[in-house]
């Protein structure tokens, strides 16, 4: 069962294929050019894995929070791919994908934040466990400095781990609701 994960909520375009482990990854900082790059990146991803879209069993897309434009591109592309191949589509927080990059066995807990513009950030506390990553408490909008002083490792501006999203696709479809930032 091969799963696709994709995230366009941040300046990164992140894609991954997963089947009992990472089969292929694509992650580049594209600024706001997700739309222009996404099909080329998908081609590169599948070429790297030696697979075709017809091998897919499910898709997960990062639903933000993120920029209006990035979210639209990510969710619209994911919907097109999933519907085109009659696959279950799942939406997961893009912060989970960031947490997957930041956290691991040696560093199981931390604050993951993204720029909310005009001085603020959106942030959540995340915990890594071998069976998955969970968010502790609510997503908050606050000041960078305050969040950095919580005594937890603080992560901002890191690329999302699309392979974690792909892994989530095994859980099946859910309602995909973009969180426009």
């Amino acid at each position: 069962m091969v799963y696709l994960g994709l995230d366009c909520a941040s300046p990164y375009l992140a894609l991954a294929l997963y089947q009992n482990g990472v089969l292929a990854r694509f992650c580049e900082e594209v600024g706001r050019d997700h739309a222009g790059r996404i099909t080329g990146a998908l081609d590169a991803l599948f070429a790297q894995a030696g697979l075709t879209p017809h091998d897919l069993a499910g898709v997960t897309v990062g639903v933000g929070p993120g920029s209006y434009t990035g979210l639209r591109v990510g969710v619209a592309a994911a919907k097109g791919i999933a519907q085109g191949l009659d696959l279950p589509l799942r939406g997961e927080s893009s912060l989970l994908a960031l947490a997957a990059t930041a956290l691991g066995e040696g560093r199981p807990r931390g604050v993951v934040a993204l720029d909310a513009r005009r001085g603020g950030v959106y942030a959540g506390v995340f915990r890594w466990r071998p069976e998955g990553i969970t968010q502790e408490g609510e997503l908050v909008k606050g000041q960078r400095e305050t969040l950095q002083e919580q005594g937890l490792p603080y992560f901002e501006g890191i690329p999302p781990d699309a392979a974690y999203l792909a892994q989530c696709a095994a859980r099946g479809a859910n309602t995909v609701t973009p969180l426009y930032l």
């Binding site: 706001r32 920029s67 209006y68 434009t69 513009r117 005009r118």
Partner: protein, 149 residues
Amino acid sequence: MKNVPKTLSSLSDTEQLARTLVQHAPPGTLLVLSGPLGAGKTTLVQALGRALGSAAQISSPTYTLIHEYPTPAGVLVHIDAYRLSAIRSDVAEALFELGLDDYLERARLVAVEWGEALLRAFPEALIVNLSLTGNARRVYVTQGDRTLV
């Protein structure tokens, strides 16, 4: 700002103003256009398009609120917040919901008609105030508490 006429009596005066504004405004600048209907706000945006090297036919964005035009210098965004001001008390918030941040990030210039409500969030915005006396158009350009023209 130098060489800017304080009254716009011809199209070439407006073109001169537009060229100066373009020189003075770094990429991503918010330009608030203030003045009554018929004061020449859209005409100024047309001149801004030409000053940025675009031959695009610029028209008023009343129907869709936003028009954007490619220019050799980057995207020129033209927003008309008049309709928003009629339905929303928080025009600035309405403009943010419209994706103003996204536009400012990627645009060469974002010109907003009836956008005075944005000045609190963007104190560094350039304000072009156009007023109509008889057939002449008086211009004030301010930024923060400085009067540039």
